[in-house]
């Protein structure tokens, strides 16, 4: 089975799992309640907001990983991979921001709050955007690849800071999955979350492979054109 087929399979599976998680969210997972017993319907956003956010961290790791590999080998394919990983990160980061803002409004009554998690995640968004701004302003292909790799590595340092900030600093952002008192989920909730998370990661992988496939065809096209032109 070749990579394209695996990617298609992952896309299908990811689609099925996320759709299943979507229905589980509304028809199976326990309704979360406020301390006073009222139903917290806004909590439903959690089942997709968190998986997308975690996926964005994970995919962004590959930006740095392939950045390092590129700098060590100067092989253009690694730069292409880093670029695609960052592109998928951008998609996930934007979805995280959008759902996050909506949840903030539901839970805290405001659209935005400058609290540590939100702030660092906002910075992460800016870094991912800056990565593409940087790429677009370098003319020479190889130089572009080197600069983008270097910046990707630097930018990734911010990702763990954003991830762990709720554990380090005083933050009102909930830490659901870290254990500790009052956190934790009931079984149907946890299963729904896990299904959504796995589905989202599969989608991320599928997106990455599909884009890679596209870039590889582009490169083949370019190579063909060079041979025809020469």
């Amino acid at each position: 089975m070749n990579r394209t087929k695996i990617a298609r399979l992952m896309l299908a599976l990811g689609g099925v799992l996320t759709t299943a998680a979507f229905f589980m969210t509304f028809f199976w997972a326990n309704a979360s309640t406020f301390p006073d017993g009222r139903i917290d319907f806004g909590q439903k956003i959690f089942y997709f907001h968190v998986p997308v956010a975690e996926a964005s961290f994970l995919v962004f790791f590959f930006t740095a990983f392939y950045g390092v590999k590129f700098l060590m080998t100067k092989d253009r394919r690694f730069d292409t991979r880093a670029k695609i990983a960052t592109e998928v990160t951008l998609l996930f980061v934007l979805l995280t921001m959008a759902t996050g803002i909506l949840w903030t409004k539901v839970a805290w009554g405001v659209w935005w709050l400058w609290e540590p998690r939100l702030t660092t995640y906002f910075i992460l968004t800016l870094l991912v955007i800056a990565y593409f701004v940087l790429r677009n302003s370098v003319e020479d292909e190889e130089r572009r690849a080197v600069y983008a790799s270097a910046f990707g590595i630097l930018a990734f340092i911010d990702a763990p800071i954003s991830f762990f900030i709720t554990r380090w600093a005083e933050s009102v952002h909930p830490v659901v999955l870290a254990g500790g008192e009052g956190s934790g989920l009931e079984t149907p909730m946890l299963i729904t979350f896990i299904v959504a998370q796995v589905g989202m990661l599969m989608l991320g992988y599928a997106f990455y492979e599909m884009r890679l496939h596209e870039e590889e065809i582009k490169e083949r096209l370019e190579a063909l054109k060079v041979t025809v032109g020469g």
Partner: protein, 58 residues
């Protein structure tokens, strides 16, 4: 039942919009990539057949 609706209703729009955005984002991205893939696959088949024709004529 009435009670549950009154609790859920004010929060519902935000949840609906959130899931709407997620689905539009994910499906839109897939559609975008697929349409680009189609276009580029067409382009490469054109170039490839041109290369073959040239090789034959040489």
């Amino acid at each position: 039942m009435q009670d549950i609706y009154s609790q859920v209703m004010p929060q519902a729009p935000y949840v609906v919009v959130a899931y709407g955005l997620i689905w539009v984002g994910l499906i839109g991205y897939v559609a975008l990539v697929f349409s680009r893939l189609k276009k580029i696959e067409k382009e490469i088949s054109v170039v490839e057949s041109a290369v073959k024709r040239r090789e034959k004529s040489e």
